[in-house]
């Protein structure tokens, strides 16, 4: 069993959260509120020490890049969110960040998520170096076409579209089945992780 007081604190907090499984109770609520507080305190620490100090305070206090003060004023407009009369000013900093990000995102996403994916779907002769990889490439291409057809809303599902979107939903369901199976795995892993801590680090039963 661990002799470290911190390990005991961690173990007690772990059990407080697990107590929710029995029913909602004050221990769970305490732990939940504690988390909200500490997580935000942690964030404040790093925003200050690792962003504002090196990028703003240090250069400005050495008299370099004085124009950063103007930028800091724009940033400070985030505070107006909590002053009802001028709260619309908060839109300015949001607009700067959102505008740049949206613009930077569009051409890169078109390249990475549309064109590169499109390119990978095209079946080429070199994929038939062995029959398996060729066959799988064909199946992938057909599956992609069928799935896109399923999500095509501008035409009634008649004629050829009907069987194709039917194939589409089969692919979609197999895909979701894969996600389902893997999600079960993920959730179980998280529980195992906590038990490794309780049984191993705290009680010392796993070696």
């Amino acid at each position: 069993m661990s002799a470290d007081p911190w390990t005991w604190i961690a173990a007690i907090l772990t059990l407080a959260i697990f107590s929710f499984l029995y029913k909602e109770n004050p221990f769970y609520r305490f732990a939940e509120h504690l988390f909200v507080g500490v997580a935000n305190g942690y964030a404040i620490t790093f925003y200050w020490h690792r962003v504002l100090v090196p990028s703003l305070i240090n250069p400005v206090s050495h008299g370099q890049k004085l124009w950063l003060i103007a930028i800091a004023i724009i940033g400070a407009l985030y505070f107006t969110r909590f002053i009802p009369k001028v709260s619309w000013l908060v839109r300015i900093p949001i607009a700067v960040v959102l505008g740049y990000f949206s613009g930077a995102y569009i051409p890169r996403a078109i390249d990475a998520q549309i064109l590169q994916q499109l390119r990978a779907t095209i079946v080429t002769r070199s994929m038939f170096a062995n029959w398996q990889s060729g066959l799988w490439a064909v199946i992938i291409a057909l599956g992609v076409i069928a799935t896109i057809t399923y999500f095509f809303f501008s035409a009634k599902r008649k004629g050829i579209l009907k069987p194709v979107s039917r194939i589409g939903i089969i692919f979609i369901m197999v895909g979701f089945g894969a996600s389902f199976g893997y999600t079960v795995m993920a959730r179980i892993s998280l529980l195992i992780g906590r038990l490794q801590f309780l049984l191993g680090d705290w009680l010392g039963l796993i070696h």
């Binding site: 890169r108 990475a112 990978a120 079960v184 795995m185 179980i188 195992i192 049984l199």
Partner: protein, 293 residues
């Protein structure tokens, strides 16, 4: 009320108890099984293992405490691999809540290596063999800025040292000096790495994903935008196995704690329990439905 109907109506706390036991017992009495690495993991391992010696491995600790049991073992395994093969490592995180995990991982692994080191050469030294850049904001500053000059993106590292003063940074200018960035994340951050870093600068991206999102990332593996991928605790266990084999090959004797591998017995038992639950539930569902008709 028939037997099946009654079975369906049992209190959910009974189910909770069963899961609790099914996970706990195999942890205490594990059966030994050797994980077999699947192609996405092998590809990642081989790429890192064979990339040119002067190229650094960058691990982006993009996960947060809530999902760390799945992903933390991946980070540890990558660090084991890198330090055992004397590769330079850069660590960073795109999430402020991931900072402490990066620190915990690097502290654990350097302590392990340094405990077995006899010479200065063998030791793993901060600022020479690895650097922990820590965190800054926003994401786009990091993803694009690292293609130009890393020291501009991170004026100071996690510990507050000026990055320009660190010896390792002399050979780590930008993505050109980085062999691969492995983004370990529970969110869609690896896709951001692809969108910005891979698309614009061509730096290879590897991925460590929670099993929840792993299936959604296969199109990126297929297109080569991800060099390789570890999926969940299972992926971590597979990488741990490859690293253990590498240790044997290099003649490193000391034992590693392998949290991913250790979990596999419980994982097996729990999967079977869940499948039995679904089967019982479905039998009951069809029996009761037929009776109603």
């Amino acid at each position: 009320m028939g037997f099946w109907n009654k079975l369906l109506k049992i209190d959910r706390r009974w189910i909770y108890t069963i899961i609790w036991l099914v996970v706990m017992i195999p942890l205490l009495f594990p059966f030994k099984i050797k994980p077999m690495a699947m192609p996405p993991v092998t590809r990642l391992f081989n790429y890192i293992d064979t990339m040119p010696e002067d190229k650094a491995l960058v691990i982006s600790v993009d996960y947060t405490p809530d999902i760390q049991p799945e992903l933390h073992p991946m980070c540890i395994a990558l660090l084991h691999h890198a330090f055992a093969t004397k590769r330079k490592v850069g660590l960073l995180t795109l999430q402020v809540m991931g900072l402490g995990l990066g620190e915990a991982a690097i502290r654990q692994v350097t302590e392990e290596f340094n405990a077995h080191a006899t010479t200065h050469e063998d030791s793993i030294i901060n600022g020479e063999d690895y650097v922990y850049w820590g965190w800054t904001t926003p994401i786009i500053t990091i993803l694009l800025g690292m293609g130009e000059r890393i020291t501009n993106v991170y004026p100071v590292d996690y510990y507050g040292h000026r990055t320009e003063s660190l010896p390792i940074m002399k050979h780590l200018k930008n993505y050109d000096d980085i062999g691969i960035v492995v983004s370990i994340a529970g969110s869609s951050i690896p896709i951001s790495w692809v969108n910005f870093a891979n698309t614009q600068f061509g730096v290879p991206i590897g991925c460590g994903a929670t099993a929840v999102s792993a299936a959604d990332y296969y199109p990126y593996l297929n297109s080569g935008q991800f060099t390789g991928m570890m999926a969940g605790m299972k992926g971590a266990a597979e990488y741990e196995q490859l690293v253990a084999d590498k240790f044997d090959e290099l003649g490193i004797k000391w034992e590693l704690r392998r949290k991913g591998t250790e979990a596999m017995s419980s994982q097996t038992a729990a999967h079977i329990a869940i499948m039995i639950f679904i089967i019982i539930g479905n039998i009951a569902y069809f029996v009761t439905r037929r009776r109603k008709k």
